[in-house]
Amino acid sequence: MQQPHRRRDRLTQRTEERTTMTAAWRQLPVLILLILAPCRTVSSKSVDPTTQPLVSIASQPTDTRSVVLQESVDQTTQTLVSIAPQPTDTRSFVLKGDTTFKNVELLNPVNLSLECVWTGSQNKQPSITGYWRKDGAEVQDSRVTVNLKEQQYNLTKVFSIASEENLGNYTCVFGNEFEMYFILGAPQMGEIRDKPIVSYVGDIVVLICKMDEKKPKPNTWTWYKFNGTDREEISAATDPHRYLTINDGWKTKLKVKNVSEADSGLYHCGAVYNISTSMTHVELKVITIMEPLKPFISILIEVIILVAAILIYERSRSKKKEAEANGPNAEPKNAQPQTEDNGGEKSSSVRQRKA
């Protein structure tokens, strides 16, 4: 499993960086100022004892980003690309009220400053309580009193996104009145195929997962098959005779040879990034040739019955007509009926013919 390895790597990374964090220390005053500035006017009226949101920067990678929901930006998705931890590259965007959420896609561990801006409701109180929630649970030490400044409320917090467990839904709450949220995660795969891929016993099937090429390229891909609740990794290594994975940048293909009905089910493909793996699934359904054969045979029977019925009807009518006409017959085998309404008028001249 790759994720535990990555976590261990990050711990070692942290210990290394602790000793060489000059850049981080340079950022520290700036960050503290940013955080403390709105907190200066914290009044003693706030209920919670803790008022200072503390960011443990020292133990974090040097990378810091600041994201604010911005009205003028069309996309509700923001992707942060960082090749190597970059110092002091703080960006800030401003959002006013209309967009209530933003998707933020991260590649690497990063310090993220999230800021929410709200223009307030009708009766604008001079200060309200704001706090942050992560995935529904309130973030510790995040309650602050937000003051109305230039007709808006600003709620900012820096979060350390170090590993997958730090990803999720971060909601900023203004009093009991207004909420906005950021969805932090690795780049997600857009097109999820809802219909299963159908294959036949003994056939070779190719399962494909694609990441949008506008998004960053995954480091690698992994495939899993769930056995009940357990996740089992599939790769060419585990079973080289049956599985073959072809990873090609934004696309991955899993070739399963000689499928059987036991191979039906959900196959999960994961696009591996530094921060986490984003998963999606493809369903495989393996059926025997009997399944489509049943409707085919029923249609075949229907066709045979209809054709026989039509021809028998025709023959019986022609025999009836010949019996009525009582004239010399053409070869009985090839006797075809005349066009109905003509009766026997022109039949004498055109009776003998082949079908």
Binding site: I287, P292, F296, V307, T339, D341, K354
Partner: protein, 473 residues
């Protein structure tokens, strides 16, 4: 036959001397059978494209390699025309359509076991294409045998099979694909195509004058008349493609107009969604435009047949055909002006109307020109010649799009070609009819006496009166 006296172009020999067409009764069952047969013929190549993506992934082929399957199928369907005409003239429509249905079914069933692209080319493309070719040709022929007075209506109803089946097959194919994958879907589709055999069973043979052993004297006369047409029993092998048709001016005019139409007809269909998407319409709505067009087409075809049947239009049916072509072409020329989705929907509706009108009349006009006796061989010749513009049209249009990077030149080209074709047909028909009218007025007195005598002469022209006139000229 009294209405025919109003026509500028009297019917060809067979309509006058053969058994009187039924124009009803079992004929409507035949129309139903032709509807099914023609429906499968035109809609299968298009409906198969739903499977292409899956087949592409499974067999590891490129998109253009897969698209060749449809192209080969269409090409064989049109190119096999003369052979099909020959078989129909020899054996009648029923065995040919049943054979065609069987071939289609077999082609799809064998294709479902395929594991290479070439195998699919052979099964679906060639065998399937031949099956569809037999279906198409024979169905059209039997309509011409069963109907005269109501023939435009019968043609309209039968040709309506194409959009009806397309509307029906597209969602059915999607459903089958989701449940059985492409292999099972091809298997079941093969079963469905066997229903063409049922359609064939419905096509009860009509009095066929072409029987060597039992030919009575009056029919022998017809046979000498037929020696030059490819429908002849005796010379069916030798006169594979009857070039004497090219001496018929009416036929040449029709052929030129048709070639121009077919060249420009299919490209807008192929590129309409891409054009809409390039204007910013979302993908699902762009695909919806084609459905609108097909839906409108479904009702316009029988409607046009009904209109063409009316006593004011029927004598001037060739003019209606040229009007329909000009109508179609004009809307293609106007398409680049349609920049919003609503306007595109309007364009799709009018496109459907124009397209349906032309296709409802396309074979009716040929029957009108050639008469039911020469129609089978004529239609074979027409389809094999139409094969070329049909295959060249969309790639040429695509080339224009690539070179200029703009879809409007595609629409200008298609619209221009079709409108020119329509105008050409109109002008030349006026000229031709006037010429024949003048000749016929001169021969009016002799006309009744000469009807049977003309049959003994070899007449490559399109009508009894006209032939007499041309002999004099």
């Amino acid at each position: 036959m009294s209405y025919t006296l109003d026509r500028k172009m009297p019917p060809a020999p067979a309509d006058v001397s053969g058994p009187k067409p039924l124009d009803g009764g079992w004929g409507w069952m035949v129309v139903f059978g032709a509807h099914i047969s023609i429906g499968f013929a035109y809609s299968t190549p298009k409906a198969l494209s739903i499977f292409f993506k899956e087949i592409q992934e499974d067999l590891g082929a490129s998109y253009s390699e897969i698209a060749w399957i449809s192209s080969i199928m269409l090409a064989v369907m049109y190119a096999g025309g003369p052979v099909s005409s020959m078989l129909v003239s020899r054996f009648g429509s029923r065995p040919v359509v049943m054979m065609g249905g069987l071939m289609c079914g077999v082609s799809m069933v064998t294709a479902s076991f395929g594991s290479s692209i070439v195998y699919l080319y052979l099964c679906i493309g060639i065998i399937g294409g031949w099956g569809l070719c037999f279906n198409l040709n024979a169905s059209l022929t039997i309509i011409s045998k069963y109907f005269l007075a109501k023939r435009p209506l019968a043609n309209g109803l039968a040709m309506a099979g194409s959009p009806v089946f397309l509307c029906f097959l597209a969602p059915v194919n999607q459903f089958l694909l989701g449940h059985y994958g492409w292999r099972g879907s091809l298997l079941i589709l093969g079963g469905m195509m066997l229903n063409c055999c049922v359609a064939g069973a419905l096509m009860r043979p009509v009095a066929q004058p072409c029987d060597l052993r039992a030919c009575a004297p009056p029919q022998e006369v017809k046979q000498t008349n037929n020696t030059k047409s490819s429908g002849s029993c005796m010379k069916n092998v030798k006169t594979f493609v009857d070039l004497s048709f090219f001496k018929d001016q009416g036929f040449i005019i029709y052929l030129v107009g048709n070639v121009m139409f077919i060249f420009g007809a299919y490209a807008p269909i192929v590129f309409l969604s891409a054009y809409a998407i390039s204007l910013g319409v979302e993908e699902y709505s762009a695909a919806y435009l084609l459905s609108i067009m097909g839906f409108v087409d479904m009702f316009v075809r029988p409607g046009t047949g009904l209109i063409a049947n009316s006593k004011w239009i029927r004598p001037r049916i060739q003019y209606l055909f040229s009007f329909a072509m000009v109508f179609n072409g004009t809307f293609h020329l106007l398409c680049p002006l349609m920049t919003t989705y609503t306007l595109l929907v309007a364009y799709a509706v009018f496109f459907g109307v124009g397209f349906g009108m032309v296709f409802a009349l396309i074979f009716e006009c040929l029957m009108d020109l050639m008469g039911s006796q020469r129609f089978p061989s004529a239609v074979g010749l027409v389809t094999i010649i139409e094969c070329f513009p049909m295959l060249l049209g969309p790639p040429a249009a695509g080339f224009l799009v690539d070179v200029f990077g703009d879809y409007k030149y595609l629409f200008f080209m298609c619209g221009g070609v079709i409108t020119t074709g329509g105008l050409f047909l109109f002008v030349m028909n006026v000229y031709n009819y006037n010429r024949l009218d003048r000749a016929s007025r001169g021969d009016d007195a002799e006309q009744n006496q000469n009807t049977t005598e003309n049959q003994e002469q070899v007449t490559p022209a399109g009508c009894t009166v006209g032939s007499a006139a041309q002999d004099d000229q």
